[in-house]
């Protein structure tokens, strides 16, 4: 094959794939600006004849989208920060501190990764019910405050911290906590960014657990609100698309801004452990 033709084929195929990947998202954006009912026409319109923000206005004024957006932001931020703290400390301890049974405990955690999270959900619901946390933000946040994946990610990264640095600080008389805050944390900054955006995106997109534990609308996160809207307003495609935009745009923007860190985390986390 001539190199020129091969180049056209490769780039043409890539462009085709990119169109397939992005078309549904662009279509969503376009329909969200259409007047109610305009998308249900033949031929299906690709562009709004008269662009309008009515759907967004309806969502925020009548369907409480603002509240769900704030819920999602608050719950996801809380999970990201708390999980960051717990996973950082544990991951660092597994990487750099000596204690009896360290390897065995870590292997046990990795082994537990084969258990699907859904197995725990039924008793977890009962546990939270007795703790009075069902239908509260805490019910979503508390079980997500530490993840095996996060601990693993931090450990992989923290192993690169030179032992000599920590030993020198210990000889100088620094306590373990001071060493962690003043020496280790600055070195772990890249993995902190990676872990934060990973956890935030996962919390934002999570559906099954919030669906189980949040029983009242006032606590709904965006995916829950959208799923319940989809059951009530399945005919209003323009309204639903505006709701999808509000749900997807924040995470998509966050990903675009911090793409490099996200992809690094994905690769770091997938190395065979």
């Amino acid at each position: 094959m001539k190199p020129r033709l091969a180049g056209w084929l490769v780039n043409g195929a890539l462009a085709g794939c990119a169109v397939l990947a992005l078309l549904p998202l662009l279509w969503m954006l376009s329909v969200s600006f259409m007047a109610p009912g305009a998308a249900s026409a033949l031929p299906p319109p690709l562009w709004p004849a008269h662009a309008t923000l009515d759907n967004y206005r309806t969502l925020f004024a009548l369907n409480g989208m603002g509240r769900y957006l704030v819920n999602s932001l608050a719950v996801s931020s809380a999970i990201a920060l708390l999980a960051l703290a717990c996973n950082l400390m544990a991951g660092y301890a597994f990487a750099k501190l000596r204690f009896a049974g360290r390897e065995r405990l870590f292997q046990a955690l990795i082994g537990a990764l084969v258990i699907p999270a859904q197995v725990a959900m039924l008793p977890l619901f009962l546990l939270l019910k007795y703790m009075g946390l069902v239908n509260s933000y805490a019910g979503v946040i508390v079980p997500a405050m530490a993840t095996i994946f996060g601990i693993y990610l931090v450990r992989q990264y923290a192993r690169g911290v030179p032992d000599e640095l920590l030993e020198a600080a210990r000889i100088d008389g620094a306590g373990e906590w001071r060493i962690f805050v003043q020496i280790v944390l600055p070195l772990l900054k890249p993995v902190m960014v990676t872990l934060t955006i990973f956890t935030f995106l996962a919390a934002w997109n999570d559906f099954m657990w919030p669906l189980i534990v949040l029983t009242g609308q006032e606590h709904y996160t965006l995916p829950l609100a959208l799923a319940s809207l989809a059951r009530e307003h399945s005919e209003d495609s323009e309204l639903m698309m505006a709701g999808s935009v509000v749900t997807v745009l924040p995470v998509l923007a966050l990903f675009l801004a911090l793409q490099r860190h996200y992809l690094q985390g994905l690769l770091l986390g997938s190395v065979k452990g």
Partner: protein, 292 residues
């Protein structure tokens, strides 16, 4: 370096959370699956009775359980190979020396991965609408009659599979790209000097060198795809004619719609066993294949 007593202070928060909110519930789930925990027990725990393996036994005699297991296997058996083929194909394209604007294409192909399942499932519902959907409109242009994608029991699961492939292929694409970049270029150099064609290079260098990555990606994807839930919940509500009820969908309905927490726990544990057996089997097969 001597053992440090503060190590446990660093570990306590994470281990406490994982212990109380994951390990403990998993053990409790096993116990729960041996009881008749239902709405009455939820109201008063004295109504709880130990029933041994009866939940499992009754599950094995329920047609809906077998149907759900069948749909889930259908989703995994068709969805995983298609997903990995899409991931591998796009990784090869992106990794080609001829590819231009790589950063842009990589971002574009990865974008569906970070989107919210519920939101994009809603989009697909409209794209695959029988009357006004773009898909049927495009198909009509080449003379295909309208298909009731999500309303026809034969088409609902294939549509959900297409959705899952679109949503997820970017994830493995990134991992496979890293695998491709780790293959020493000298191997291709030598093959070119020997006059090996591109397909032969792919078959004799790329695939064998990529094998460990492919095996890992496949096992993780299989384990993930067995946990099908949000897609049927949003796109079809398990229908039409229960043709998209997955095992987790059944667990959710049993547990949180009918409050049969005992039965639902048995469903969850059965799924866990199935995932465990299938992934172990795949790992064994992969190891044996590597030794041959």
């Amino acid at each position: 370096m001597k053992p440090s007593p503060t190590a446990w202070l660093f570990l306590t928060p994470a281990l406490l959370v994982l212990g109380v909110f994951f390990v403990l519930p998993v053990i409790a789930a096993l116990g729960l699956s041996l009881t008749d925990y239902d709405l009455y027990a939820l109201a008063n725990v004295h109504n709880l009775r130990f029933v041994g393996l009866r939940n499992y036994w009754e599950l094995l005699q329920r047609p809906l359980f077998w149907a759900a297991l069948g749909h889930t296997f259908y989703f995994v058996l068709v969805g995983v190979p298609l997903s990995i083929a899409a991931s591998l194909g796009s990784a090869l394209l992106l990794n080609s020396p001829l590819a231009r604007m790589r950063a842009f294409f990589r971002t574009a192909l990865f974008a569906p991965v970070v989107t919210t399942v519920v939101a994009v499932a809603v989009i697909w519902r409209y794209l695959f609408d029988t009357k006004y959907g773009l898909v049927n409109y495009a198909l009509a242009a080449i003379g295909v009659h309208p298909v009731d994608w999500l309303g026809d029991p034969h088409w609902a699961m294939p549509t959900i599979i297409a959705f899952a492939v679109w949503k997820n292929f970017g994830y493995n694409m990134i991992i496979l790209m890293a695998g491709l970049q780790a293959i020493p270029p000298e191997l291709y150099e030598a093959a070119r000097i020997d006059g090996a064609s591109a397909p032969r290079q792919f078959w004799h260098i790329t695939l064998p060198m990529l094998r460990p990555t492919l095996v890992m990606v496949m096992i993780l994807t299989v384990a993930g795809y067995f946990q099908l839930f949000a897609e049927p919940y949003v796109m079809t509500e398990g229908g039409p004619l229960q043709s998209t009820v997955s095992v987790l969908y059944l667990m959710y309905e049993e547990g949180f719609k009918w409050w049969n927490l005992g039965t639902a726990s048995a469903v969850a544990f059965t799924l866990f066993l199935v995932i465990f057996m299938v992934t172990t089997l795949l790992l064994r097969l992969a190891r044996r294949g590597a030794g041959a």
